[in-house]
Symmetry: C3
Subunit: 395 residues, 3 copies
């Protein structure tokens, strides 16, 4: 579904069609999009759309009579933090953040124990842990198992729904919002069939940006029949397992997945472009190692090397000339924000100022779906009958 139109009939149709996808997500965490079938992904998008419309109407979305929406941010966050807080508020939960510096978790307390101690009255737990390759997702799985045990043993009256707010592998709240944006822009997910989507590396004067947006985009967009092209300079590979998943998805959806080392080639005839910087995963692996060893000197060296390596690829910038190579010169530009904009937020960056300005408000719209995407993930996991709840909300 996930249509653009906005009338009551359409909203009712969205709710009616939730059945299978909603059932599949009941009592499930949302850690990786590839943990879930396409029906489940569609259910997230459609539920998000219904919630967005209901909120605009001023309707009450309070699923809960109080309780906590927990978050743990192991990396900085503005937009995701506020999106999560918004989702919590709409559903009737109080957002409480575990600040690991303030709390006793820094003093040798185990993950397992803390996960239970903060969750007695929690209905959701969102975690960002994207700094260390091979670590973020594992941490979330460890927490999930602790919550399972606590719930099984009766320690926790409810099993909070876990939501991945960005890990080393995936960034599902971002990419589902991206997908909803595409669905709205092109008139439904079916319209993505055979559309050329380019996930391209782009130059940035910064170091150590997570790989998870790029990995999330190639693994998700390949599921809906799109032709996904991943473009990056040599040495900027993504995690091999996510490449394998993208290939598999393209095959089963009837789409394509290709890798190129030329931004020029990638942009040719593209319908959608997503130019964004990331660190090579080799650097991220090395960095995780050095951080664990607390080798500050080697970390400084690594940063210097990495920035020097980046600087060889300043031509990977999304310019007007490049945009002209896309289909009709009018590909949809996407970004998870904030973008490194040449001459605005940095001297040389991911995107030329005029290109960005042309699509700026569209990127805001893209981002605007995030609160509802997160709320949908929590609601579909925790609500006994999401269809009935939403039908009642829209009454």
């Amino acid at each position: 579904m996930a249509q653009q139109s906005n009338n009551a009939t359409d909203t009712k149709a969205l709710i009616d069609a939730l059945g299978e996808g909603a059932a599949a997500l009941r009592n499930k965490d949302f850690l990786l999009t590839w943990d879930h079938g396409p029906k489940a992904i569609e259910a997230v998008l459609d539920t998000a759309t219904v919630l967005e419309r209901a909120y605009k109407d001023g309707r009450s979305l309070r699923l809960f009579n109080g309780g906590l929406a927990l978050s743990i941010f192991r990396d900085n966050s503005t937009r995701t933090r506020f999106a999560y807080g918004s989702a919590a508020s709409l559903l009737g939960l109080s957002h409480q953040d575990l600040d690991e510096k303030k709390s006793q978790i820094a003093h040798g307390e185990t993950v397992r124990e803390t996960a239970n101690m903060i969750s007695f009255c929690a209905h959701s737990l969102g975690i960002r842990d994207d700094m260390y390759i091979h670590e973020g997702h594992s941490y979330m799985v460890e927490v999930a198992q602790a919550l399972d045990e606590g719930f099984r043993d009766g320690v926790l009256p409810n099993r909070p729904a876990m939501v991945n707010l960005q890990c080393d592998l995936d960034h599902p709240t971002q990419t589902c919002a991206d997908l909803l944006h595409l669905s709205n822009e092109f008139g439904g997910l079916k319209a993505l069939k055979n559309k050329k989507i380019v996930m391209s590396w782009a130059y940035s004067p910064s170091y150590g940006k997570p790989l998870s947006v790029a990995q999330g985009v190639i693994t998700l967009m390949t599921r809906f029949g799109a032709n996904v092209t991943l473009a990056h300079p040599e040495g900027y590979d993504l995690l091999p397992e996510t490449i394998d998943i993208a290939k598999r998805h393209a095959q089963s959806s009837g789409g394509k997945f290709e890798i190129t080392h030329s931004m020029q080639d990638a942009f040719a005839d593209a319908d959608i472009v997503y130019p964004k910087s990331w660190a090579p995963f080799g650097v991220m692996e090395k960095r995780t190692e050095l951080l664990r060893a607390k080798d500050d000197k080697a970390l400084v060296d690594l940063e210097r090397q990495c920035l020097a390596q980046n600087a060889n690829h300043k031509d990977w910038e999304c310019t007007n000339d490049l945009m002209k190579r896309t289909k009709g010169g009018k590909a949809l530009y996407m970004h998870c924000l904030p973008a490194d904009i040449t001459g605005v937020s940095c001297k040389e960056g991911e995107v030329a100022a005029d290109v960005f300005e042309r699509y700026r408000l569209k990127t805001y719209h893209e981002a605007s779906h995030k609160p509802y995407t997160i709320a949908a993930m929590i609601l579909l996991s925790r609500c006994k009958d999401a269809q009935a709840f939403l039908a009642n909300v829209m009454k």
Copy 2:
């Protein structure tokens, strides 16, 4: 209106009289009191009074079905932070603060983008930015324009109501609470006609206190026919534009506005005195410059000079002897708190301990109006029909 009595008939009369002022504030920000007419100011005070009574009765003031009340504090705050959090809670919003150190705003993200990114589900945004002369208000206007654009383009489903929680020019949530206090103490705003109100500089052993309370008091109190006297040592001028506004207001309200460099003269026959320290705006301008240049050495020098200059005026203290010069020796002492109390919070300060102690609880009452004043500003901006809403609350 803004009467002291407390019965249901009077509350109904307050609500009935809101019409014109409430209409003027619909969809408006509250950045400077002089952006709004006297009817609008009265509407804030009367709405605050109704909310205060309703809260004391335990009535629900939940205007919203969830959503965020955002705040950005670019300077420390206790009382305003808690007043804003209280207003949010009463109206049914979740308070979420943007901590600029934690967030990515520090990393070159533009104000325009962040304003939209945090506001998708926001109904209000309160900002304190009082450290830099010529900066705070401009920043708020910039944010307001970003929100206007986001709302116009459909990025934001609602345009959050902006509330100035203190800028370089004004401190409207404080001065409106002050005015409500005066109205309660003297029996209505009309009773302020021809009352002598003294806004006086006072000595403090601290450096760099904002000018905005003093500027807010002289610009607001001159609107209701009072005789406002501004007193300060030479060299402690306020921003010239606020002096001009105070003069204009006095003229059109039939009040007076005078400036004197003698605290003794100022206190003679005063009905109300508000002795409070501030930095000379020349120092604040210099400081803004040095902070921008990150010239730490020059900043230390500037602080030393400024404190030395302050120390020449230790006789500007609100003592018992000075209070005896006021009308019947019984002028109402006001302060926005915390006061620098001689022998209590500092060796030599703004006010003698015995004077302060005599009026201490009155200053608490003065402060107690702030949560409701803020709630009134948000409600009058966001509520389609504030009169109907309040009538329903009081039913």
Copy 3:
């Protein structure tokens, strides 16, 4: 009451029996368990049980139409912070924490003033202040008096209920949750009659742990006819006044209170053991003095001495061999968490890994009562008719 069974009849019986205890707690703070009679303690436990059941059923416990639940943490906290936030959310309050580093309280503002300034719309105020012996409780009493004055004078529309979240004397939210755990494990408070409860010091490689859990346990458990044994090495005395209270309580309840310097002896035939480290109060007194004098060098020396002293007692570890000495080898192990677990969270600690693992989930259950215990304390203080409210919740 405080029974284990879980059916509607039993819940109704719990509510019906609240009368005397609920009346005793109306408008009262919960600073020390010995401020309140046994009926009041039972009312807290029974109310917590009812709230726990109601929450598990998804019932609304919103006593308040918004307003603040304030907290001040003068020491780190994870579990208590989240328990307090949970209680706030369930009762319909917004949790707002006073971060003393951010706020102006650090700049000479008096306790009295700040207490009022943050409380205009507050219904509860939880404080942790456990670092300084002879200080924490006094601070809370000072705050309580300030709130009394503010309420008496009409500054505050409500007198917020104060809850001690750990002071230098007591940790009532912890020990009431502990007592409820015991009641659930043994089948009611009456079953504690003649049970042997051992509160034992245990070795920890850390310094300066508060005494309040141990003091809270011996003063509370002696009230219900238990035989309480306090065990610690020489030099690890608790505050003498709490020893006196424990003795008095044991006498009037028909229980026993004994002190021993042998962990071996203490564990013999015990029904319940609570092995936990604390600092000698002499060290804590000295530390308070040095902290006040800001004598960093002497503080480092004191820490070194104290850790060396601790290291003489590494044999005070709750091992399997020790557990075998308890009644049937099956005493209930308790801990407030986090425990120092040998080979897990430290090299040598309070408890052997296999002992802890056997009781791990039981300690989670013990902790799980805390949110409801805190909510019960607030509700019983603030609700005009707690019985009617709870009866209505369970309808």
